[in-house]
């Protein structure tokens, strides 16, 4: 699924496919999926729960660009779909769209954490809306997803300073080690 780097986006899409990157990304995806199920979803928070997958996808997309965001979103979504009850592909579609759209932005996560928080808020809300829309279309009921939306977005924004800069730093490190 990963595509060769676009020559015009060399600064962003540098060194797209290599072992270290895929390994780290896979590790991050697995960690996000497992922690989401084991820890985040179990903490009884009022209103809803943060979504680590959205944070990861936004972080990767901001740091590494559209293709990386698209791929990470799709793969993360597929894994989460396989571990849940809804049809496989729903979360993959949502997160792939989120990764793609965020990757098009120019908000560099290295400088300030403010823009990433705004992006996370919009991305989380958008992803949740798409998920609710597909669930409703499939007759699985998207109302529950919408009920938790405000609280989930708020929690995602609160967690942004702890996730997005870490992802950006890892991306930077992988990129510099390649040179």
């Amino acid at each position: 699924m990963t595509l060769p780097p676009s020559p015009t986006r060399a600064h962003k899409e540098a060194g797209t496919v290599n072992g270290a990157r895929v390994f780290l990304l896979g590790l991050a995806i697995a960690a996000a999926v497992v922690l989401q199920g084991v820890l985040v979803a179990r903490v009884p928070l009022p209103g809803g729960h943060p979504n680590l997958a959205v944070l990861l996808v936004v972080g990767v997309a901001l740091a590494a660009g559209t293709t990386a965001g698209l791929t990470t979103g799709f793969v993360t979504g597929i894994v989460m779909d396989l571990l849940s009850d809804h049809p496989v592909g729903v979360l993959a579609l949502c997160l792939a769209l989120v990764g793609f759209a965020v990757g098009l932005l120019d908000a560099a996560p290295d400088r300030s954490v403010f823009w990433p928080m705004v992006v996370v808020a919009v991305a989380a809300a958008g992803g949740q809306l798409v998920f609710a829309a597909i669930s409703t279309a499939l007759g699985a009921g998207g109302a529950a997803a919408l009920e938790e939306l405000p609280a989930a977005v708020a929690y995602d924004v609160l967690l942004t300073p702890f996730v997005v800069p870490v992802v950006a730093a890892a991306e930077r490190k992988v990129r510099s080690s390649q040179r």
Partner: protein, 347 residues
């Protein structure tokens, strides 16, 4: 905002189409059962392992918002626990009460006594020197001085003073109390004297009378005895030496009831028309002649029908064990109310 390259656009379209295909396939035919179980196999152990680590943390974090209410919950549960414990204790108390009342009715029924049930409300002012108790029935209940007071086990004492709603009872264990007694079976007569918590002593009228350890005593028609006849007193535990007719023969008697553990008693308002003889005695452990139901005449003709005489009335020949009460025992209010609901009269 940048424009996506053509390649990225194609990639997006490809993945969206792929996702749509996956959704359709899975929605229609659950096509990914194998993949799902595969993912479960890969992530399951990791999830379980991490859950063991994180669950306590999660529970702790989750408990923080509820700390105050948790404390309130604990308090409430503790209170409930105490209440339940108390209830349980009261219930066993009630059960004991019911048993006592049943015994009392049984005795009243066997002897043909008319009994008003009463509860001991206070012990005498100088318990130890003078063995008296105060009970919660008095003249309004028909209690008069010198009436016999019994429990389900046997003789308790006699009424000494009567107030309007309470009476003072001198226990048979009082050192000054002398009860005319008859040895069941042999019909030897004697006097039983109280000794406090120690065993009572029996002085036989006939110096040459033969009594044995284990012989049982009932109140007997001696002289102008104020006690109604036939109430069980106790068992002989030791017989004094033979004085050869020179002095009175003595024996020690273990009373059937413990004078320090009185709760529910009955005042015999009216004795039987004829002496119930030995019929009221508890069945003897060793089979002897004294167990014969002499009380076939105990409840003559007039089978006690008054009141709620359910306590095995009219079954003088069967013995106490053979006739459990037919009706359910009264509730806890019955004995304390002092009302003559428990009478088993033969009049």
């Amino acid at each position: 905002m940048r424009r996506p390259t053509r390649r990225q656009r194609y990639a997006l379209i490809a993945l969206v189409v792929a996702a749509a295909v996956l959704i359709t396939a899975d929605y229609q035919g659950n096509a990914f059962r194998g993949l799902r179980s595969g993912a479960e196999t890969v992530f399951g152990p990791v999830q379980r392992g991490l859950a063991a680590v994180f669950n306590p943390i999660g529970r702790f974090l989750g408990g923080i918002p509820h700390l105050a209410s948790n404390r309130a919950d604990i308090d409430a549960l503790r209170k409930e626990n105490d209440a339940l414990k108390r209830q349980l204790a009261e219930q066993s108390l009630d059960a004991a009460r019911i048993r006592e009342l049943t015994d009392l009715k049984l005795l009243a029924g066997l002897g043909g006594y008319r009994v008003v049930p009463a509860t001991v409300v206070s012990l005498g002012p100088s318990l130890g020197f003078e063995w008296t108790v105060t009970i919660d029935v008095g003249s309004v209940d028909g209690v008069k001085p010198d009436m016999t007071v019994v429990t389900g086990q046997g003789l308790a004492g006699r009424v000494k003073e009567v107030g309007r709603g309470t009476s003072v009872v001198v226990l048979a264990a009082d050192p000054g109390s002398i009860v005319g007694a008859r040895v069941a079976g042999s019909n030897e007569l004697g006097l039983v004297t109280g000794n406090g918590t120690a065993q009572m002593s029996l002085t036989l009228l006939n110096p040459n009378a033969r009594v044995n350890v284990g012989d049982r005593l009932v109140t007997g028609p001696y002289g102008k005895s104020t006690y109604v006849a036939g109430v069980p007193i106790g068992e002989i535990t030791a017989v004094g030496g033979d004085t050869g007719g020179a002095g009175p023969r003595t024996a020690t008697v273990r009373a059937y009831l413990d004078p320090t553990r009185l709760d529910l008693v009955g005042v015999v308002l009216k004795g039987p028309r004829t002496d119930p003889r030995d019929s009221v005695l508890p069945p003897k452990p060793t089979p002897t002649a004294t167990a014969t139901p002499a009380g076939a005449t105990a409840t003559p003709g007039g089978t006690p029908t008054g009141g709620t005489g359910t306590g095995g009335t009219g079954t003088g020949g069967t013995g106490p064990t053979g006739s459990p009460p037919a009706s359910s025992p009264p509730g806890r209010t019955a004995p304390t109310g002092g009302t003559p609901t428990g009478t088993a009269g033969n009049g």
